[in-house]
Amino acid sequence: MTVDTAAPQILTRTRPRSPIVGAEPFFVELDRFQGPLDLLLHLIRAQDIDIFDIPIARITKQFLGAINEGLDDMQLERAGEFLEMAASLVRIKAQLLLPRPDRLDWEEDPRAELVRRLLEYEHFQDVVHVLQRAEAQRGRHFGKGFIEPRPMSVASRDALQLTLAELLEAAVRIPEPPPPIRVRPPSLVVTVEEKVSLIQRLFEKAKRISFKRLFGPWGTRAHATAALLAVLEMAKQQAVRIEQAAPFAPIWLFSRGPDGADGSDGDQS
């Protein structure tokens, strides 16, 4: 797998309502999706991808692009749900880069759990359609009392039965007014490409850099994973050497120059 530096062409929300079909670029309206699984499933189905062999790198790129555009307008909780999925995608992508035996059992494929969830989610979408049809059919039957009672003059009718307890009972169930929204923009999702170029820029200034420095100020899982992925990628291309004195000790990265002329062997501690 190579690091593709071309920015993914994913536009969101600014385009007409037509769902996406065909190849990239993709036009995705994030609002239309119930959540990250819905979006992911849509990306896979719209491109006719074999769900048992998901090209994680491509899908991850498209997923990140889609949420990058749409995230700003989203409530924090909802944004978090999409970000969590983004982090798992990046994690799976990283796991796929690790060396592994030629022949894997399905359970050992890093994508297995994701595929299981997607298929399960898709099955429930079928149920949703069944329910929707049933609901529409039922909605065409009316019982007694469907037609709103005809207004009568106030004088002519009996006193209304309404106790204070009933009113208060109803009042106590009114939800609290929503607190004023304080928007904290969610941390931006970062791409592996950005981390690679960050590492390259740092090596222009120093021969040795701390792994932690690659995501220090942000500290999120997405940043850490992107940084790890970038380092693994560069190590694979022999552009960087990784050193760690002991487990949990600081990890240091050494530049190996453009052709990897640094002398030492590929020691991935």
């Binding site: 009316f142 019982g143 007694k144 009392g145 469907f146 037609i147 709103e148 009672p149 005809r150 207004p151 106030v154 009718r157 009996d158 006193a159 209304l160 039965q161 309404l162 204070l164 307890a165 009933e166 009113l167 208060l168 009972e169 109803a170 009042a171 106590v172 169930r173 009114i174 939800p175 007014p177």
Partner: protein
Amino acid sequence: MTPEQIVEATLFASQTPLTAAEIARADGELSTGAVRQAIATLREAYENEGRAFQIYELGDGFQVLTRPEFAPYLERFDSVPRAPYLSAAALETLAIVVYRQPIGRIEIEEVRGVSASSVLRTLVDWELIEVVGRGEGLGRPLLYGTTTRFLDHFGMKELAELPPPEELPVVLAELQEAFDLGAAGETSTADDAVGVE
């Protein structure tokens, strides 16, 4: 669809008497004369088939009711409607107006999550709420507030007599207790079903 069927469906779906003109609204081609004709046909059919219900003329309206001879059977059920009461939807909307007034339809719908226009009409019709002004913004929406009749109904002089929202659970518990003491053992199941989580 014959006029008889359309009239039958309409009468069936209503719980209160409808005038011939009101029934005619079901279909643009239905005249009040045709409605009256259909009602006569239906009455005869119900009679011949020995149906347990019949169309009765009440005031200026028509209503399908069970025949009086079945009353003894129906009285075995405890669900006999009493004096008019508000539907759950109307009650909920009233509670929102009471505590958030002045408030517009849109805000009420935001709280309840469903359309409120017909419920608001019912409450205005009962003179429990009224239009008290117009809000800012698009279309200058109508704002609703409670009426003096609302206060009368609960024997209050002013809204300030209502418990503040944060005390509602306490007041409710007290009311429930007083009710239990007063009606020891009677009808308690119905209220239990409504209130307690």
